[in-house]
Subunit: 137 residues, 2 copies
DNA sequence: ATCTTATTGTTTGATATTCAAGTTGTATTA
DNA sequence: TAATACAACTTGAATATCAAACAATAAGAT
């Protein structure tokens, strides 16, 4: 029982990853840039540390990633008076547009997934995910 | 509605990835080695091409990954008479053990996730995933 | 106030991951 | 047998990542 559910979950994650990778490769973003963009798009301004935490990497890594996002003009660093050590990262217009586009792909995938489900199943699925997310992650 | 479900899904995938990464980092496998092991553990024997397809990478990549798995004694190549171009990859005892251990972590995570659900919800969740997997990926 | 400690972000050096393109050896087809 | 296709490997390059060392700044202790 648990065994079978585990396998369905792994298959699910796998499918999502492959899909995500192929979408990203078709854009002018690298995988890590896309991941950073996903996070940055959800926040007005973010410092390096919290970006790194959200992404599950070190700040050394985010420094490099943001360097590249900045070079490609998707994001820029802003300094702040409160704490002059901190860099706040904000998306540029180009960055916001790229985020919106990427987010749109996610919505399309979701729509494709739920198209095989009934109204009730969709609601139930969402409830279940919410519960799991709150308690597990 | 779709918007919220999308966000729950992204959160879910994110949580899984972080969890997976931290588990892998605590082992003596690298991420790509672990991914290969996950696939190889499900098959008795596999050639490079199908391993690459399952992982969504090129055979150039799997050559390197299997090289390392072989060096660490998790897997070995076997040649076959039918087609002498082909290498069949099989797990060693050590590799099978590592796979079982890793799979166990997956089961533990699944158990943790479903512990917040009722019997009915678990069944429903599994049905839903199965449907989505079949139709979407 | 000044000295110490903690924190943020960057840099550096190393390893891992991946791909595209080219190569080798083997099979299949014309 | 010659031409073509295919499996795996190699090479060279770009990207991803970390740990450790570092610089600048902030916060706390005396």
């Amino acid at each position: 029982m648990i065994e079978e559910l585990t396998n369905e979950l792994l298959f699910f994650f796998n499918g999502f990853s492959s899909w995500e990778n192929s979408i990203v490769r078709a854009s002018d973003l690298t995988i890590s840039e896309a991941h950073a963009l996903e996070v940055l798009g959800e926040h007005e301004k973010m410092n390096m540390k919290s970006l790194a935490q959200k992404l599950g990497v070190t700040t050394g890594t985010t420094t490099v990633t943001v360097d590249r996002l900045e070079k490609k003009n998707f994001a820029k660093r802003e300094s702040t008076q409160e704490d002059r050590r901190v860099n706040l990262i904000v998306l540029t217009e180009k960055g916001k547009k790229a985020f919106a586009e990427h987010h749109n792909y996610h919505i399309q995938l979701t729509e494709q997934m739920v198209s095989v489900l009934s109204e009730d199943e969709i609601r139930q699925f969402q409830d279940t995910l919410k519960k799991i997310n709150m308690e597990t992650f």
